[in-house]
Every structure is written in structure tokens, then in C-alpha cells.
């Protein structure tokens, strides 16, 4: 069942917090994973795999490079769920 973008954002923020220790409130829609949140490619892969499990979607490796901002990820997950 598809979740709202807000629900996905909150879930994603929890995953980011778990992996990087960043405060969940800092995970905002317009933040860039690399530029603003300082998340490296290794952490990004963990976040992606954990997001797949949490949201019941598949995010191909080839798609990961397109997920530059938090919004990109939320939008992709939202689309993949519906």
C-alpha cells in the first residue's frame, strides 16, 4: 500500500539517522545527500538497501546515482509503491 510523501520522508529520515547519526530533522526534502548531508557512496548504498526493505520497493543500482536529493528518493519510492 502506498504511503504519503510525508510518511516516506519520516521513514527515510529514520534510516539516515540510524546509518549516519544525523538528526532526523536535518533530513529535509531539498537537501542533497552528498552536498548537504555529507553522505558517502557506501552509506548511500546501505540507506538504499534499508529503504528497499522498509518501503517494500526495489531501487536498482543504476537508479541510485539519480537520487541526488531527499526529494528524489521520496518521489522514487512513492512512485515505485503505487
Amino acid at each position: 500500500m502506498a504511503q504519503s510523501e510525508q510518511e516516506i520522508l519520516e521513514g527515510l529520515a529514520e534510516i539516515v539517522n540510524e546509518e549516519t547519526g544525523l538528526d532526523t530533522a536535518s533530513v529535509e526534502m531539498d537537501k542533497s545527500f552528498t552536498e548537504d548531508l555529507d553522505i558517502d557512496s557506501l552509506s548511500m548504498m546501505t540507506i538504499v538497501v534499508n529503504a528497499e526493505e522498509k518501503f517494500g520497493v526495489r531501487i536498482p543500482d543504476s537508479e541510485v546515482k539519480n537520487l541526488k536529493t531527499v526529494r528524489d528518493a521520496v518521489t522514487y519510492i512513492n512512485g515505485a509503491q503505487s
Binding site: E19, G21, L42, M45, T46, V49
Partner: protein
Amino acid sequence: MTSNRDRRVVVTGLGATTPLGGTAAETWEALLAGRSGARPMDFDWVSKYELPVTFAATIATKPEEVLAKVETRRLDPSSQYALIAAREAWADAGKPEVDPERLGAAIGSGIGGVWTLLDQWDNLREKGPRRVYPLAVPMLMPNGPAAAVSLDLGARAGAHTTVSACASGAESMGYAIDMIRTGRADVVVAGGTEAAVHALPIAGFAAMQALSTRNDEPEKASRPYDTGRDGFVLGEGAAVIVLESEEHARARGARIYAELASVGMSADAHHITAPEPNGSGAARAMTYAVERADLSLSDIIHINAHATSTPVGDVAEYNAIKRAFGDHTENLSVTATKSMTGHLLGAAGALEAVITIQSIYNRLVPATINLDEQDPEIPLNVVTGEAQKLPDGDIAALNNSFGFGGHNVALAIRSI
């Protein structure tokens, strides 16, 4: 044999997280109180695999209580322990101001990131390759702890890992001495770490009959030199010291615990696990250490022995001590602190170096526990009952470490 003590190396900081306490000071207090760190294991795999040994000297303070959550997630326990001990040692040394390119790290480990290796193997088999943690390799690599400490302290003179089984921690300190003596660094953070209280190492050690099986009395299981000893007790933790050139330490007015005067190293080339029965290899390590510290054998008054509580190993070490020291052997106050800490493998030599440094600094040798009936084949002067006071004036001690593979390492520590 040249001593090369023209650039003396001194100890200015101590850190440890062990089965006896979360700091070097807590560990020292527990040692003086004669407490054992051995306890039943509460992991589900103990009964799952019906392990023949159900206890170990597990860490007293869990890393989760000390480190940030992200650190416990991204570091193997062996690196977590090393980081905790290194931060303590660094703070204890007064966080010296040093050019990062003149600061080194040398952290040994006997086994490396075995928890990560086995957990990720489970992930691979149960969930597939995509669920293997992307940091699995840097977490399981044996140089992970040295790298973690180097990153944390910004040590850029070099980050090194000595791997020589149960001599790893002592060998790292020997490596650190060389870094300072050869001019590669002014300050080196050195030590050893091990986090191998896991089903596979326990099953492996048990299969070779190296572990005590005194499951009903864990605290009495580690009993070096006692006629009832039946193997070692697996321990875990880390110990780290801050070493500096004396010149550097004096210039900043640092508190100096002792001089780490020399390291003596040798190899048995005898057998992969059994010590050379006549102790000639270990004796050479001790003799080298004494000579390179500009000491005579009769200057040594105390030995913190390797003494793991195995039937064969304790006798072999006695033979080595007797071979090196001859009639002076009876004058040596010997203690076997593994009777309390258990055997920390790659951290053992580092922890016992910390204890020996504390003994020299405090002029006090912790007593060996569980020595009810001393093995007549090991007529050493073992400190038992209460801690023994060491004399005032210039004193010197040795710390022995031996590892599977025939590695022998002796550290000489002098008062200052």
C-alpha cells in the same frame, strides 16, 4: 648489541577497556582487589551450538555505553574497543599538541574483525549479497582498529598493524618504539585489541583443547601455575598507551609514567602452536630486551608473565625465564594477571604492558589469583595473596608475550 637509547621513549598516557573495567584505572583497581573478569556468556549461540565452554572474560563496559551509535554501527567491536582505549590514553596524556605528520598509530590484533566477518556471512547466506553491509570489508580487516584510531586522532605519520597472535599487542609497542627511535614520529599511540568472544573462535580453541572447561566456576578457571589449571579463559578488550620521545614529553611538561626502554623479539621456528619446550626462543627475546634497555639481568626485579593457564605453556615460560635469568630467577617477583583478566589474545600483551607500567609507576605488583597449589615444575616466586610493594629507586621489569606461530616478544620497562 646496541641499545639505541639515545632517543628515549617514555609513556605519558594509559587507556584500557577490559573484562575488569571500562578504563585503565578501573582495571587497575580490580586487579589490586583480586577480582576475576570471567563470567557465563549470555549469547544465544552458546546453547545453540552446544559449545563445550560456556563462559568467557567478556568486556565490562559495553561500547554502546561509551561510543556514539553511528560508531558502534560502522566499526567492528575490535575497532570500537581500540577507539575507546585510545581516546582514554590520549586524554590521559593531556591531548598532546603534536604535528599530525609526527603522530603515529600502531594497533595490533590477533584475529581482526571476526564478528563482522561472521555476521556478514550470515547475512549473505540468509538474505543475499545485496544485504551484505557495504562497510563489511573495512570493518573486518585486521588493520581496521589502527585505521580507526589514526582517523580519530588525525595521526598521519603512519598507521600500522602488527599481527602475531597473542603477541600482537606487545609487538605494536615495539613497532612504536622503532617509529620514535628512527625519527619517523615524536608521538605514537600504540596498543592491541581483540573482540573474538564469538562461537567460531571458541569452538576452534576448544577443539584444540586450549580453553578451560571449568564451566561451573568461571572465576576460578584461569589459574596460571596451579596444578589444577586446564587451559586459558578467552577474554576481550583493548589497551593503548601514548608513547613519546622523552624530549617531546619533557618539552611539554608531561607526566611520565615510565620509560618503555626496549623490545626483544624472536621466533621459535619450532611448531605452529606448541612453545619450544626448553624456552630458548622466549629466553632470547627476554635477553635482547634487557640488553637493549642498557640493563643487566640482575636489574630486573619483576616480570608480568604471559602465563595463560595452559598446562604446557606455563612450564615452557618458566623454562625460558630460568634459561635467561639463571640463579636470579628466584629474585624475580612474577605475576600472572591473566588469572583475573582472562586471555585477551591480540590485546593481551598491550594490557599487560599497561599493567606493568602501572606496577612500576605505583611500585605495586597485583597478586595472581587462583593459585592454590603451585605446580612443582614451576618454582617461580609468584606474587599471591596481596599486592606486593616494589622498592624505591631505579627499578625495571619485563612483560612477556608469546603467540601461536612461535612469536616471542619481551618489553622492558624502567622507572623514571
